[in-house]
């Protein structure tokens, strides 16, 4: 019997090969998208999952009244371990504060990130050097390991894993050290690095105001984390009270608490960060599922459309004595086979699309990696889509009454009319929402690209540098002026400045008081020409200038937001106090968007002298466009003379490239959305195309009769189109509010955004109506053009 059913199924498919191909192809494309999304989802949610203690590792963070952070003072780790028996182990980690140059003979390595890891943290976080984790001796020994790639750069011919002597910084610095071996940099981990430096205890003697480590705890399984959290908060407050470095009032301390954040949260939704990556992942997953649902709907709808044709078969088989469940099974198996073919195609498509996908999301996913669990997920997906796509047709078809269907003029259209239309409307609604979303994302991105940022990063070069240019001197920093003069001598350099932070990065935060208000605001410590280099607009007053002696002592420039925050009227000449200095405001600049469009511009103060500030290391140069190459070559050649302390290696980035990275995430989202929208529309149209074919085929006789009775082609096309036309209109109306809510939610994530546009709604409606009419008319045209006599004879 199976063989016979198979024959019927295959011959049926063959007879409708065009439609079968559309059906299976559409499903295959959707499945491919779904498989990619599954791969991505698994990857993104399994960072550090290989760690055997994955479930029991927590970050200790601090909640301040204004923000949360993972940066804590190092000694707190040991305090926690000693006080709470449920804490098995506690360790600390710190990023390197600056980029480091390592030299071995002629080979030079620029490291961006050398992780400082305590021995305990290395154990907890499974940070394992190639030749095993060794406990450093005593308090001061550091064991340094470089990632395999870094090792390659530094020691291209090294075979063994013996320690090596290397030089740090400029070759003249005279600082040297030992590299103890290599360590694998696992990209599928929260802890990536160019190298790792392991010490027994880090920051042991730090005070509680030196919050620059991250604490990781490993707790006993089944620990009551909430309870532990409370106990740790209690401990932290006591420690703060004991600590003399930071005199915080009891009231202030009461406002501070700690939290425990599972390791599992760190990659996507750290409590002390934003959960945008998590939201994006969820959005992408929802898109993947939706596309699959839409493809399944095609299947269901086409099966229903075919039902009239299959009804006779069902009737006859029942007359011959087939049981209902046999027929249900037969139809399910039929759909299962088609889904199987679709899955195989999908795997091929996914494999072909992976390189593009990987580069878009900057990941290294592979179908063949067993860790992704596809080998059990695929069969599950197969069963699931077979069920979704096939269960309704299978039940409806097998339920036909032979006495009805065998009468000859049986029509199934009535029974499934509502379901069929509902499914079509659903499909089109999805397509409509995606198109509207696409338009709106596109408008916002266009706005972001064209909007005046208030500063200009073109032809600005950001020179990486290790020398600190704080004046008055702070830890061996030097005056910037001589260096600047040397640089300005290079023909083509228009201006040169140095600051603590570059636009687009994170600024520092300190407490300032003005107009009777005390608040934490952003600060940037700069040098002369900072505003000129970045082409920032002045609102009133003046920029810093070496003509004014006080500028290097107590002058400040603030932005419009700061003026607004403190409510200062006539700000020029007013005092803003911070770090025990009364700064005089000499200028107000217009707000400029350094933090992209998501974040509102922060109230910011710019000063030259700031004992509480940061290190001025970020050199910014404005260079004449046509002399760019020459300037860079000259700087490279003369760098050791210009900036002796930085060593001989001139390293730079174009600031506009750096700033462009801020757009990366949004552009990624746009790509995903674009693909999703195109796929949805494509699959929905495929479905509609095939569906329209069935519907018109079912109406061939009606069309023939109408034609014989004198209907014109246009009238007939209108007749066939009208039912689909109404469906699309309904779909549009249904999806408008949904699209409005979803896109508005997205737009609200931007501090600076377009006014909510109406045009995309209208355009989308027109587009979908047009596409529908074209699709349906292609099918209808064939039926209308056919000779009516043939249609009647066929019956």
């Amino acid at each position: 019997m199976f063989k016979l059913n198979l024959k019927i199924a295959l011959r049926n498919l063959w007879r409708n090969k065009g439609i079968a191909a559309i059906n299976i192809g559409g499903l295959a494309i959707a499945l491919a998208a779904f498989i990619l999304v599954t791969l991505y989802f698994t990857y993104e949610t399994s960072f550090d999952k290989e760690n055997p203690n994955y479930e029991n590792i927590y970050v200790v963070g601090i909640t301040y009244p204004e923000f949360k952070t993972n940066y804590v003072a190092a000694p707190f780790a040991e305090a926690i371990r000693q006080n709470f028996p449920e804490v098995v182990s506690a360790g600390v980690i710190k990023d390197s504060a600056f980029e480091l140059t390592i030299k071995k003979g002629k080979n030079t390595l620029f490291t961006k990130k050398i992780l400082q890891v305590s021995y305990d943290a290395a154990k907890i976080l499974n940070i394992q050097p190639a030749n095993g984790l060794i406990k450093p001796a005593g308090e001061t020994e550091r064991l340094t390991y470089l990632s395999t790639e870094s090792m390659k750069t530094l020691f291209p011919n090294k075979q063994d894993d013996e320690p090596e002597m290397v030089g740090f910084g400029a070759s003249t610095s005279g600082i040297s050290g030992v590299i103890n071996g290599s360590i694998k940099n696992n990209l599928h981990s929260n802890f990536t690095f160019d190298g790792v430096s392991i010490g027994n205890e880090l920051g042991k003697n730090d005070h509680y105001n030196m919050n620059d480590y991250t604490i990781y705890l490993q707790v006993k399984p089944a620990t009551d984390v909430e309870n532990l959290e409370q106990k740790i908060t209690g401990l932290y407050r006591t420690e703060l009270l004991k600590d003399k470095s930071e005199e915080k009032s009891i009231k202030e301390i009461k406002g501070i608490s700690t939290f425990l954040d599972p390791l599992a949260n760190q990659h996507l939704k750290p409590k002390a960060g934003n959960d945008a990556p998590y939201k994006i992942l969820i959005a992408i997953s929802v898109l993947g599922v939706l596309i699959l649902v839409i493809a399944c709907i095609n299947f269901t709808n086409l099966s229903i459309a075919q039902a009239g044709k299959r009804a006779k078969e069902v009737g006859i088989k029942k007359v011959m004595g087939a049981y209902r469940f046999q027929l249900t099974k037969q139809f399910l198996v039929e759909i299962l086979m088609q889904c199987l073919v679709a899955i195989i195609l999908a795997l091929i498509i996914a494999e072909l699309a992976l390189p593009r996908f990987n580069s878009l999301f900057q990941v290294h996913l592979s179908i063949w990696d067993t860790a992704n669990g596809l080998f059990w997920k695929i069969p599950l997906i197969l069963v699931l889509i077979t069920f979704c796509a096939g269960i309704y047709p299978a039940i409806v078809l097998s339920g036909f009454k032979p006495s009805l269907v065998l009468k000859g003029n049986f029509s199934t259209s009535k029974q499934s009319y509502w379901l069929r239309n509902a499914l079509l409307v659903f499909q089109f609604s999805m397509a409509v929402i995606f198109i509207i979303g696409l338009f709106i994302i596109n408008s916002q991105l266009k706005y972001m690209r064209s909007e005046d940022l208030g500063f200009n990063v073109n032809q600005v070069v950001y020179v990486k540098n290790l020398t600190m240019f704080n004046n008055p001197a702070k830890f061996g920093s030097i005056d910037f002026e001589p260096v600047r003069q040397k640089m300005l001598k290079v023909p083509g350099i228009k201006s040169a400045t140095v600051a603590t932070f570059i636009p687009g990065g994170q600024n520092g935060i300190n407490s300032y008081a003005a107009n009777g208000i005390k608040a934490n605001i952003d600060f940037v410590n700069v040098e002369f020409d900072y505003f000129e280099t970045l082409d920032i607009k002045l609102k009133e007053g003046r920029f810093f200038s070496n003509k004014f002696k006080t500028d290097t002592i107590n002058s400040a420039i603030v932005n419009e937001s700061a003026v607004a925050k403190y409510g200062i009227k006539n700000p020029i000449g007013k005092i803003i106090r911070g770090c025990d200095i009364d700064y005089k405001i000499v200028g107000v600049i217009k707000d400029f968007k350094t933090q992209g469009f998501e974040n509102a511009i922060q109230p910011t103060i710019y000063t030259i002298k700031d004992p509480c500030g940061s290190f001025k290391t970020e050199i910014l140069l404005k260079i004449e466009q046509n002399k760019m190459a020459d300037v860079l070559a000259t700087l490279k050649a003369q760098w050791p003379e210009i900036n002796k302390l930085d060593g001989e290696d001139f390293r730079y980035v174009f600031l506009d490239e750096l700033y462009g990275k801020l757009f990366k995430k949004q552009e990624q989202l746009e790509s995903v959305f674009f693909t999703a929208a195109v796929l949805t529309i494509f699959i929905a149209l495929l479905g509609l195309y095939a569906f329209a074919k069935y519907i018109t085929n079912g109406r061939l006789k009606e069309i023939a009769v109408r034609k014989i009775l004198g209907a014109t082609d246009v009238q007939l096309l209108k007749l066939i189109n009208s039912s689909f036309f109404y469906l699309v209109v309904v779909a549009n109306i249904v999806s408008w509010p949904i699209a409005y809510v979803v896109t508005n939610m997205w737009l609200k994530t931007f501090a600076y955004r377009i006014d909510f546009p109406v045009l995309p709604f209208v355009t989308t409606t027109l587009i979908t109506i047009l596409l529908t009419i074209i699709t349906v008319s292609i099918q209808a045209k064939k039926a209308v053009n056919a000779n009516p006599v043939d249609a009647l004879k066929y019956e």
């Binding site: 016979l4 049926n12 006779k312 006859i316 004595g321 065998l406």
Partner: protein
């Protein structure tokens, strides 16, 4: 063999109720060939469907060699049908995707006849029906008469006790119609009971007995003397 008593069947649609069968009483003896005639819409097809267990009546009794069939559940009805009955329809109702051979084979498959024996039985009947060189063809490649012969072959291949035929010649010209009628007669002579619905008195003349229906009633019965004499 068949005892039908007080059979009632009502079709309910949104607007109207149609009483298709209104207290039918009918006995058919084993080996009989019965024709059912009557004006269009009088309930002939409905009666045949009920007899073939394709439809359920509202009330009444239907006994087949002492088994009451109306109380069976769906599964038992299927089983009973596939073991005891064969069907021939006016519009042939062959499966378009299957060849002649496969169409005839289908009921055997549902009766779980082993493959070897299936082949033998199908080939036998194909030979008897004179359609040997058509066995690999699909239904659309055959003439109406040939299609109906295939349908008859399919009805007979399981050697049913009862064959139900609803206007088997309705879509055929008279010569093809006669071929089919002769087939049915031959079948009847080998002992199969046949109940046939027809509009043609010519066709009815092949049967032993003619039952006239009107508005869901049996209004008259006529023994077909000529045929009975012929038999004797």
């Amino acid at each position: 063999m068949i005892k039908i008593e007080n059979l009632e069947k009502v079709y309910k649609t949104e607007e109207v109720e149609t009483t298709a069968l209104n207290g039918i009483n009918l006995h058919v003896a084993a080996g009989e060939f019965v024709s059912i005639m009557g004006p269009s819409g009088c309930g002939k097809s409905t009666l045949l469907n009920v007899m073939g267990l394709l439809d359920k009546p509202e009330s009444g009794s239907y006994k087949f060699i002492d088994t009451e069939l109306l109380t069976l559940n769906d599964r038992e009805r299927s089983n009973f049908r596939k073991r005891n009955m064969g069907f021939v329809f006016q519009n042939f109702n062959l499966i378009d995707e299957l060849t002649v051979f496969e169409n005839i084979e289908l009921p055997l498959i549902y009766n779980k006849v082993p493959a070897g024996e299936r082949k033998k039985l199908v080939n036998e009947i194909i030979e008897r029906m004179n359609i040997v060189n058509r066995s690999g063809h699909f239904p659309q490649q055959l003439s109406g008469g040939q299609q109906q012969r295939v349908a008859v072959a399919r009805a007979l291949v399981t050697k049913p006790k009862l064959v139900l035929a609803d206007e088997p010649t309705g879509n055929l010209d008279s010569s093809h119609g006669n071929e089919v009628m002769e087939l049915l007669c031959e079948l009847n002579e080998t002992g199969t009971t046949i109940v046939m619905v027809t509009h043609s008195s010519h066709d009815a003349s092949f049967s032993n007995r003619i039952i006239n229906l009107k508005d869901g009633h049996v209004i008259s019965e006529k023994i077909n003397k000529s045929r009975n004499e012929e038999l004797i």
